[in-house]
Symmetry: C2
Subunit: 544 residues, 2 copies
């Protein structure tokens, strides 16, 4: 009675096969790392990927072997995206912006057998390769003419390697829950942890993220991922685009507004990146009085998107913003802010407010809020709670971790604090470890910081909770003022009281010259706590 | 290394849970069989479905038991759509238009334990129930006040049954390849055969058919399936709509243009049915000078859609036509005619020609053409071949058949002959058993018939191939002329030569008063062959 339908394995090779079969000539325009802008298509990408799979097997790659890839967004990278899993191996994306020690750690931890590296990253390769214990071959993503000079022996030229093979190769098959790719989380504490995407999770994720209420990607779109393929599964765009037969533009390593604008004007209809990229681009466009002639939608995620960016894209350039939230651990899509009918009924101004949330989840993703004791909280758009996620492409275990990172009901703790409204629209309000718990109520450190930096003389502000005998925790604020200026404490608290409730106003303000930052430029609350500890800082109520 | 993502079972209960969680208040407007138009939503459908699951278990329904459902498209039917599989049982849709003997055959073949029947179909139930060996209970889909009078004992009232339960029920779980629904093919030869959809095939099918290049269904749509839920998996709309959180209109049993127009005007944005329905509606709209105020897209399938219908919807009413092809055996979606970039570049007239094809497949569906020896033929838009299908929601075995109905490479023979063009757009040209094979070339009987009935005095025409000593087969044409008129053979062949190649022109024309038809109103080629056999008909070249 069961299982009378045909078997169909949800493996990523099916995605590329579909693209090459039904959308073979769809253009992929790519700025190569060597410099020139080149064109290819899904049919050619598939042929190159098959050649690569064949070559990798000759380099003794066996099923489930890991291959580390440190590369920018190019058409060549897409060949790897399919050639590596097609050979049975696992595509381990490496972020070249990590410290060498971190790179060495994750390459050794994943036991990568081969490294494939863009030619401009040769210096990093030279630095780390001697410390990578399991790596047997290094492949440079270049043609023979552009192979970099290096003191490393036996570097393999990618284009030569691939040119020596034919494409007569059957993709390696296997169960759909086999590993397909690995991405390590940067991890603010402890060592980076490896998230292992399966073939199945990648295919289901691509299917759901393409849907009309999510990215709404079709074969008539041309999508440019500015977000690097090594960030959080490349936001899955390397899978979603060929699944729907979309055309692509790959911007290479040039991230200047000029370079991105040049690529956007090659008929791009959808693009995706973090807010910083778009702030720079919007300024550039306004300064140069330029228009976006083909762009229709921009996906903004990675961190909260300022209202001004949303408004400028939509009002000044006629480009619809899709504010999104995700995590490396979620493949990465958690939510996208498209308009449900309830939102379509609102005024334009109210719609913009909705767009400041990160939206609602696709099919297969489920979110919930709880208090510290795991009691479910209501979705009223106000109540803050710990944010938990469940889904078909959400992590269950990290690589080489025995324990699951989900609770008994299968929920993954995102580490975020959020609100969810009646219509399912979610807003991150803080990280769990940064939220300030005052007398049973939760105060968002981010909200306090945003309120404070609105003051014209405040350059940076960090809110943290300190122990209080009566309220458990109370907020205090660490502030950096503009050089050579002074602001009175009361002026700041008065200013803030326009934006936050009275009982949330920080009890103390500490003026400093500098606030410590993490490697990725965020405020280091851990560093800040250490400084305060060293000074034996205590809440004023205790000091008195 | 493998399987580190969370488990997520592709079961249809996940679809309804998602709809109730993120689109709870989306309206479902339904014309009840009792008469009134009522409103419900996904949250309420889920509650009722859970109550039904609970009640079914009390009626001794165990996992994989079959429940036969004979019902029109109502919100209540949607409750069954989830309540039955939610209880672990299998939803066996029954077509009330079948002959009683056929109904009895398929109910006994599937071994249905319970029958659930709309109140207006009580006469059919009374007729067949005594012959249904495995049925232990019959449930009438009505409230107490509307229970029909019947001599059948122990009829259960659906609304009473459900009202007696609470919704505190966990959906029955299990492997995603477990059976979820059954639909029997009508079968022109032999007994009907049962196609068994799995939970997985239904979920994957709903996901792919919602995608932007297919139905493009979103939470802002309101979809009305005119095609009955008992036809070919209800074109999957009962799954696709809640998966994306769409609103629905369920038209009930009233299929008159007046009744359908009334329901379309309740904010419907997408609708779906066979061409006949739309021909009647378009005539009605023109006659009454009516407009379609909310409808944006119409999905037309089930049989080839006349160009005039496509043009009238698009030009007269501003409604985009999505010509589609599918089969009960394919869950049913095979292809939809949306525009790829290659088509967008064409003139408006050329686009209409493309829309006469049934379009291209979604991800997970693969089509190919072969000759009689299984050699793959090219996709050039001209070469006719046997059409084969592979996919995640395509049949592998029929119910209680030991042999697979796929070849060694997993291909299912659709029984159709088709062409596929360079861009993957497919056109059915004939049924395999009807195509005329003349000297190695294939002549479409349908093309000949269409060419002939263009003649103003020809009412109906049927082309069949008869044995020929030199060419294997040659076409002859059986013709019914308008009453009281006569047409010369040469006039017909001259007329046809404007539409088909010379060598395809039928060698003989036989004038008859009437052509035999099947139960569903199609020309019965089998019946026609029998008549000719009885007359010892032979090709003119043999007779001479």
């Amino acid at each position: 009675m069961d299982n009378l339908m045909q078997p169909f394995s949800l493996r990523v090779s099916e995605i590329l096969d579909h693209a090459a079969r039904y959308h073979p000539w769809r253009k992929i325009i790519s700025r190569n790392v060597e410099g020139p802008i080149v064109e290819t298509n899904w049919s050619s990408v598939r042929i190159k990927a098959k050649k690569l799979s064949k070559a990798l097997q000759k380099l003794d790659i066996k099923k489930s072997d890991r291959i580390g890839v440190m590369a920018w967004n190019t058409a060549r990278h897409l060949e790897l995206w399919y050639g590596i899993p097609g050979s049975g191996a696992i595509n381990h994306t490496l972020n070249p912006r990590l410290f060498s020690k971190q790179l060495t750690y994750i390459i050794n931890h994943a036991e990568d057998k081969i490294l494939m590296v863009d030619l401009d990253l040769i210096k990093i390769l030279e630095e780390i390769l001697p410390t990578c214990k399991t790596v047997t071959h290094a492949i440079i993503l270049a043609d023979k003419a552009n192979m970099p000079r290096s003191n490393l022996p036996n570097l393999i030229c990618y284009e030569e390697l691939v040119a020596n093979e034919d494409s007569d190769f059957e993709w390696v098959t296997g169960h759909e829950t086999e590993a397909c790719g690995i991405c390590y989380t940067s991890g603010t504490t402890g060592n980076p942890k490896g998230v292992v995407y399966t073939h199945r999770s990648n295919v289901l994720h691509a299917l759901t993220s393409a849907s009309p209420d999510m990215i709404n990607l079709s074969s008539t779109d041309r999508i440019m991922p500015v977000v690097p393929l090594f960030h959080a599964n490349g936001w899955s765009i390397g899978y979603t685009a060929p699944l729907v037969g979309a055309s692509m533009v790959m911007p290479g390593k040039e991230m200047t507004p000029e370079a991105l604008y040049e690529m956007l004007e090659k008929g791009v209809t959808v693009t995706a990146a973090v807010p910083t990229i778009w702030l720079l681009l919007l300024n550039y466009l306004k300064e140069k009085k330029l228009k976006l002639s083909s762009l229709k939608r921009v996906i903004i995620g990675g961190s909260s998107c300022p209202k001004a960016v949303i408004e400028s894209f939509q009002k000044d350039f006629g480009v619809k913003v899709l504010h999104a939230w995700g995590m490396t651990e979620m493949s990465p899509l958690g939510t996208i802010c498209s308009f449900k009918p309830e939102v379509l009924e609102l005024s334009e101004e109210e719609k913009i407010s909705v767009q400041e949330t990160t939206g609602h989840p696709p099919f297969t993703v489920e979110l919930k809020l709880t208090d510290d004791n795991g009691n479910k909280l209501k979705n009223d758009g106000k109540t803050q709670g710990k944010l938990w996620a469940r889904g078909a492409a959400v992590v269950q275990k990290y690589l080489k971790f025995d324990e699951k990172v989900v609770d008994n009901d299968g929920w993954f703790d995102t580490g975020d604090v959020a609100t969810i409204d009646e219509n399912g629209y979610m807003s991150i309000t803080d990280r769990s470890k940064d939220i300030i718990k005052s007398g049973g109520e939760w105060i968002s450190s981010i909200e306090l910081e945003n309120a404070a930096v609105g003051h014209p003389k405040i350059v940076e502000a960090a809110a943290i909770g300190v122990f209080h005998p009566k309220w458990d925790e109370r907020p205090i604020l660490v502030v950096v003022c503009e050089k050579g200026t002074r602001v009175k404490e009361k002026e700041i608290t008065d200013f803030m009281s326009d934006y936050v409730a009275k009982w949330q106003i920080p009890d103390d303000i500490i003026f400093v010259e500098e606030i410590p930052h993490t490697a990725t430029g965020k405020i280091s609350k851990i560093g800040l706590r250490k400084i305060l500890e060293n000074q034996n800082y205590q809440h004023p109520d205790i000091q008195q």
